[in-house]
Symmetry: C2
Subunit: 198 residues, 2 copies
Amino acid sequence: MSRPYHHGALRDALLEQAQALLAEQGLSAVSLRELARRAGVSHSAPERHFSNRQALLDALTVRGFTLLAAAIRQALADHGDRPEDGFRAVARAYVSFALDNAALLELMFSSKAGHHDDAVASAAEDLFALTSGLVGESLGDKATTSVSPLRLVVVSTLQGIADLAAAGRIQPDEIDSVIDEAVSVFIPVLMHRRGQLA
Amino acid sequence: MSRPYHHGALRDALLEQAQALLAEQGLSAVSLRELARRAGVSHSAPERHFSNRQALLDALTVRGFTLLAAAIRQALADHGDRPEDGFRAVARAYVSFALDNAALLELMFSSKAGHHDDAVASAAEDLFALTSGLVGESLGDKATTSVSPLRLVVVSTLQGIADLAAAGRIQPDEIDSVIDEAVSVFIPVLMHRRGQLA
DNA sequence: ACCTGAACACCGTTCAAGT
DNA sequence: ACCTGAACACCGTTCAAGT
């Protein structure tokens, strides 16, 4: 028995280990050679699945966006009917992801100046549409097609709270009060806009 | 003449080159050996000034916080008297820094889980006090001592806008309208709170 | 006080060869 | 189709030695 010549699911195993390594020891510790070692294959076996280190990091990034989007969808599905409940639930899911996956979040939002991967771009776009859709939902269908400045402000605030929480600038015991404050700032503005549109 | 045995200002030269390399080719391109090459010294000369690569990155991070804080102070000094002018000027300075120094901003706000450098922590604290002080200024002296949730929401929004702009999720031509929207959301809230405190 | 040069253990990437 | 093993050029870090 032992391990067969073909690993069988090397690609998934590498990604799994990569996520763990990233969380435990940071981005610089995520090396193809170390991942190969942990998977029990030779140092050049990963090359079949990821043509270089960047390709592996891209796949990890896509995974991160997918996980975060799923967490946010779950939060939305579980929330109460009132707009402020949805907002609060999404903010909590976002921050919770940021605290549990700080290094992954950084990887997801690193700008990578000259870097353009289609799968990464589309996963990022999905998340962006989801969070900015929050605002559209509050405003009603009339406003869901345009990406208004207000949406971008709300998305920025969510992103900023998650960032500062992950960086420890917002302490764990302050998080709920900060989210509640954001809700109390934005909900009246959203309600007022909805009134104007009606 | 030529280059003397002692470089004379190697530390500053290394930091200067490091900032340029970071902006041009990203964090992974910032190697001690490449910096030594560019400075015209042996590969182990930098070790006198930075005991390891992390120490150099820490120094670069401190530089970043100092530069950003200076830009924000300048913006505050140049602004009009009205609170919304101050807010707008700071937001623009923040975003402008983020666009010009995307990789440096990432380095500054990377969480570095187990990483604690006193100089970095104190530079970060200075910036944080400066941006959150914005809100205190609007609220009057009564509120400047406590870090209220509202301050943290405002700081988060500034940080989020800068992040999303640097990552290209907010397009350059959308930035001014997003900043104006943030001003129009927060200024009435700040004015209202000030009224309650008076 | 500051810098050099050799040494060591790591890394990404490439490629002929094996199964 | 998938994996191995050797090779190459890079890197951070250490340390005895030079100026």
